[in-house]
């Protein structure tokens, strides 16, 4: 029995085919070369990265991609060759990854992120940030009042964070703690690094637990406020009020803002989940989730800066006015950054949106 499949089949001159050549066969013969070209480009981009493609190849990619898309829709309407339609489907899918995957260079992405996206997203979330700040502040004030009246509350609010700074310590010991300096090469660097990664992890957690309806987020914020208030009260009672703020604020401004931002991100998520409004839950999560992630990444950056201030600056500078001046400078810096950076870009975007 002869097997026809064993006979080599491809690359015949068109005339060799029977008179009633199929349109779908014709169609494939005309376009196959461009599909193969696209296939090669995709393979190169996958193997060595998009950036290794030459300028000419890069310019050709979207053109070939659109050609493949049009081939796919033609094939769907005229060809009954399942293998062909499935091949085109795969080809378009693979090309889609390359064309619509994240595209820009990493450096440009980072510049864009910090130059516009982060401050703009933070501005858009101002009400959530306000809510997170109020929760923290309310807890801090309550803890401050209670601890000022009765120092035993300190153990309840800040017990685990005390690190030897307890009501049992004398004013002199507490004072030493505030002005104690160490050489920067000591155990301090490790301490600062662990502190940063610990804080950042808590921040990310405050965001992520927004997915559990935001209750843990609120608790984290509240607890953070309690520790802060109790801690400040302890020093105030001992007459070290100004000193403790000068000790805390240089890094605290940045750190507390970052924690509040993470909390706000968690609240964004929680709101999208619990009160999706007119949209479906999935839609509102998708939008708010992305915004929240942008805020959290910004906050992690801030916590890193706070860690640097805490680990290096505070341990080498002990003058109260200088410490307060630095605190004021960081506050002004963040207000400027989140309040004003990238505003022009937003307006330009709105204008082009309208022009379209």
């Amino acid at each position: 029995m002869q097997s026809l499949a064993a006979v080599p089949a491809t690359r015949l001159p068109p005339g060799a085919i029977a008179a009633r050549a199929l349109r779908s066969v014709e169609f494939r013969r005309e376009r196959e070369a461009t599909w193969r070209e696209l296939e090669d480009l995709i393979a190169a981009a996958d193997r060595r990265g998009l950036r290794t493609l030459g300028a000419e190849q890069l310019a050709r990619l979207p053109h070939l991609y659109r050609a493949a898309l049009s081939s796919l829709s033609v094939a769907r309407s005229i060809s009954l060759d399942l293998a062909l339609v499935e091949y085109l489907e795969s080809l378009v899918g693979r090309a889609y990854f390359v064309v619509y995957g994240t595209r820009q260079h990493l450096r440009r992405q980072i510049a864009e992120f910090f130059g516009w996206k982060l401050p703009a997203t933070v501005r858009a979330a101002r009400w959530h940030i306000l809510a997170a700040a109020i929760v923290t502040l309310a807890a801090a004030i309550a803890a401050f009042q209670l601890t000022s009246a009765d120092l035993d509350y300190y153990y309840a609010f800040a017990g685990s964070m005390a690190q030897g700074r307890t009501p049992a310590s004398s004013a002199a010991e507490l004072r030493d703690g505030l002005y104690h300096t160490e050489s920067a090469s000591g155990a301090l660097t490790t301490f600062a690094a662990s502190l940063f990664s610990h804080n950042a992890r808590i921040g990310i957690l405050a965001f992520a637990t927004g997915f559990v309806a935001g209750l843990p987020t609120l608790l984290l914020l509240f607890y953070n406020g309690l520790v802060l208030g109790a801690f400040a009260a302890l020093y105030h009672v001992r007459g070290l009020g100004l000193d403790v703020w000068a000790w805390m604020l240089p890094h605290g401004v940045t750190e507390l803002t970052a924690v509040v931002l993470c909390g706000a991100a968690g609240l964004l998520l929680a709101q999208a989940l619990v009160f999706p409004g007119a949209r479906t839950r999935i839609d509102s999560l998708r939008e708010q989730g992305r915004a929240a992630a942008v805020i959290v990444v910004g906050a992690v950056g801030m916590l890193f800066i706070a860690g640097l201030i805490e680990g290096v600056f505070r341990q080498t500078v002990t003058s109260v006015p200088v410490r307060l001046a630095v605190a004021a400078a960081t506050a002004a810096g963040w207000i400027y950054y989140f309040g004003f950076v990238g505003r022009g870009r937003v307006r330009r975007d709105a204008a082009t949106e309208v022009a379209r």
Partner: protein
């Protein structure tokens, strides 16, 4: 009859196929990655992360010398950066793939078919703290985090860990919480195989036969012919099943058996009287004739889906 049955499965995992509409307005189908593939990809990435940590840590130690604290600080920072930004960085730079995903052949795409945004990549990966790292810590380091935890706390922790770790297995879109929040999907990277067109192949084979035996043109070239009535019985579905049967790797005996069975069925159905010696050849020519017939109908807007449609 088992081989025929397997050839019938044109789309073997139809419930995992999702259609997304590209910005050009053309729907393209992707197959969602299975939970097992994703877990395997994650495991590979985890191993790479740990290896990176160990290698860079040892490298730093040999470069800077064993000066304790700086080294510890650097490793703490590195561990944090790897844990939280390893996935995001790769997915941004490699168009939705990490080394593990690439090895398995899966990718992240935007669920609505748009460009994969940086913020989406960040969102889907930051949430890992909640759904991966905390559960893992609870499961494996629970005793260290909370030494004398009561039984109920361990139970709650285990429940938490399982709900989040196995989320993709519980919903029909195989979504991790990160995917829900970011609006992304993880899909299989389709394989690119363009096999020759059966019609082309059959015609070429016939032409080769004609060249080999010029005298026997009449009998060899148009061995089988079909009339319109015979071609109006089957529809597109049957045509494509036949395509599947013909594309099964030829050569082994069971395949010949399958071809004969199919050929017998087809001949009985379309009342084809003449004797058939070469069943494969008969089926190929029937395929060509049937496809030509159906594609011509298609040009006139008549799409006959299967043998049951009128």
């Amino acid at each position: 009859m088992r081989p025929v049955v397997s050839a019938l499965r044109i789309n073997d995992n139809a419930q995992l196929v999702r259609e997304i509409v590209t910005p050009e307005g053309i729907p393209v189908r992707f197959t969602l990655a299975r939970a097992g593939d994703r877990a395997a990809g994650f495991a590979i990435d985890l191993v790479i992360q740990i290896a990176l940590l160990v290698v860079i840590g040892l490298g730093l130690r040999s470069a800077v010398g064993d000066t304790g604290t700086w080294l510890t600080a650097a490793i703490v920072l590195l561990a944090f950066a790897l844990q939280n930004f390893y996935f995001a960085l790769f997915e941004i730079r490699w168009q939705g793939a990490t080394p593990g995903k690439r090895a398995i052949g899966i990718r992240v795409i935007d669920a609505r078919g748009g460009q994969l945004e940086t913020s989406a990549v960040l969102a889907r990966n930051l949430i890992r703290e909640l759904e991966v790292w905390i559960p893992l810590r609870l499961l494996f380091l629970g005793g260290i985090v909370w030494p004398d935890a009561p039984g109920w706390a361990r139970l709650v922790a285990a429940a938490w860990a399982f709900v989040f770790l196995f989320m993709p297995a519980f919903n029909k879109d195989r979504l991790r919480i990160g995917d829900m929040i970011a609006g992304t999907r993880v899909v299989m990277q389709p394989k690119l195989v363009l096999v020759p067109d059966l019609v082309d192949e059959t015609a070429a084979a016939a032409a080769a036969l004609r060249r080999a035996a010029p005298g026997a043109t009449a009998s060899a070239a148009a061995a089988y012919s079909f009339n319109d009535a015979q071609l109006s019985i089957y529809g597109i579905y049957e045509l494509q099943v036949l395509e599947g049967v013909l594309r099964i790797n030829p050569g082994d005996l069971s395949h010949l058996e399958v071809l004969r069975t199919v050929s017998d069925k087809v001949r009985a159905k379309i009342r084809y009287e003449p004797a058939v010696l070469d069943h494969e050849r008969f089926l190929r020519e029937f395929y060509t004739a049937q496809r030509t017939h159906l594609e011509q109908k298609l040009l006139f807007g008549q799409r006959r889906q299967d043998k049951f449609s009128r």
